[in-house]
């Protein structure tokens, strides 16, 4: 196998050192490329987000559909007891309000379990795939990156919330359907950083930002054009917003898939050169 280091040696120490540096960087890049699997998680979470769209009307607390539920526990209690908490707490629901449908409650609550579980499944697949290929991903890197990303996103959110003087303990810590979906944004950002994939990292940031914008409507920022329209059109409603979240992930998945294959090919070229 021809080596840039050897050929470089014929032209002096500078070329040799540069050749070795380039070769080392090529090996590292190619090894990372062998582990690239972010497009799978983007695709998986994109499909999950698509599956969530039909439930969005009943579950999202974006304010766009005229309801203003502040707390998932309160909602859960109301659903289980059949008492409405929307127009007047403790009285039966009016038509179109939450009306004690246990299935709706389950459809909502399932994402709290399903989203973290999906990451666990992905992590396991990632590890097994690495073992099969002979290169096992670094666990410490993942742990560190996830911790840093979670801290960064949480800090940014807290800053935004405090900056807007929002009742954040009510609207975010308890809030409903939106908060568990941050698991996707944070996870993808961590994955993107670990894999050196700016597409995945950007998708994670966009996803988290979009959720924050959706939550922002509840904070009364007023800059979200979709909030509480007088005559809701389809594009003003929660379905469109849920679809937008899914679209971000699916578009990123196809872009990352193409980039991963390009990296794998160019990585092979780098080492062989």
């Amino acid at each position: 196998m021809a080596t840039s280091a050897l050929s470089g040696a014929q032209h002096g120490p500078r070329a040799q050192a540069a050749g070795l540096l380039a070769a080392a960087e090529g090996w590292r890049a190619r090894t990372r490329a062998q582990m690239n699997g972010a497009w799978v998680s983007l695709l998986g979470f994109g499909v999950l987000s698509l599956a969530a769209v039909p439930f969005a009307w009943n579950t999202y607390n974006f304010g766009a559909h005229g309801r203003n539920l502040n707390s998932y526990p309160t909602f859960a209690y109301a659903e289980l007891t059949g008492l409405c908490v929307v127009h007047e707490p403790g009285t039966p629901c009016l038509e179109g309000e939450f009306d004690g449908a246990v299935l709706r409650f389950l459809a909502w609550g399932v994402w709290f379990v399903l989203l973290p579980l999906a990451w666990v499944v992905f992590a396991r697949w990632y590890r097994l795939r690495g073992e099969a290929r002979g290169v096992v991903p670094r666990r410490d890197l993942w742990t560190r990156t996830t911790l840093v990303t979670t801290t960064a996103v949480t800090t940014a959110l807290t800053g935004l919330l405090l900056g807007w003087s929002a009742s954040w303990e009510k609207d975010v810590l308890q809030n409903t359907y939106v908060s568990p979906w941050y698991v996707i944004g944070i996870g993808l950002l961590a994955l993107g950083l670990a894999e050196h994939s700016w597409i995945t990292a950007a998708a994670g940031v966009t996803h988290a930002a979009l959720l924050t914008v959706y939550l922002g409507a509840d904070w009364g920022t007023g800059w979200l054009p979709l909030q509480q329209p007088a005559h809701p059109r389809w594009t003003d409603g929660p379905h469109f917003k849920a679809l937008l979240l899914a679209a971000v992930l699916l578009v990123a998945a196809s872009a990352e898939w193409a980039a991963a294959h390009r990296r794998a090919r160019s990585g092979a070229g780098t080492v062989a050169a």
């Binding site: 500078r14 040799q16 540069a18 070795l20 002979g134 290169v135």
Partner: protein, 116 residues
């Protein structure tokens, strides 16, 4: 192999090129540098993966791994996947430091030579 070339670098310009003093023959050798660079990106890598990536023979790679293991820059663990024997290589803390030192020295060397 490039060990001789590395010595040339070291012997020829040791006084003038300070970064060469940080170059360690154990790490500077091309295949061994490749093993460390690849292992740096993973928890552990398999013998066959290294062989493929570095384009070397079984015997050649084994000799280089032995040198690295004796220098405590890597650990070698043998096991099985089903009936198939597999050898896993893990970078040690010393190995990671040695790799960083080597890469830093190479970058500094290139920078200095570019300036002359």
């Amino acid at each position: 192999m490039s060990t001789g070339d590395a010595t040339t670098v070291r012997d020829g310009q040791e006084e003038e090129l300070h970064p060469t003093r940080s170059l360690d023959d154990t790490v500077h050798q091309r295949v061994r540098l490749g093993v460390l660079a690849i292992a740096r990106e993973a928890d552990r890598v398999e013998f066959g993966f290294l062989k493929r990536e570095l384009g070397v023979t079984d015997g050649n790679l084994s000799r280089h791994l032995k040198v690295l293991e004796e220098s405590t820059l890597i650990t070698v663990e043998k096991g099985y996947a089903g009936r198939r024997p597999r050898t896993w290589i893990t970078l040690t803390r010393e190995g990671a430091q040695a790799l960083e030192t080597e890469l830093r020295a190479l970058r500094e060397l290139v920078r200095r030579l570019d300036g002359t």
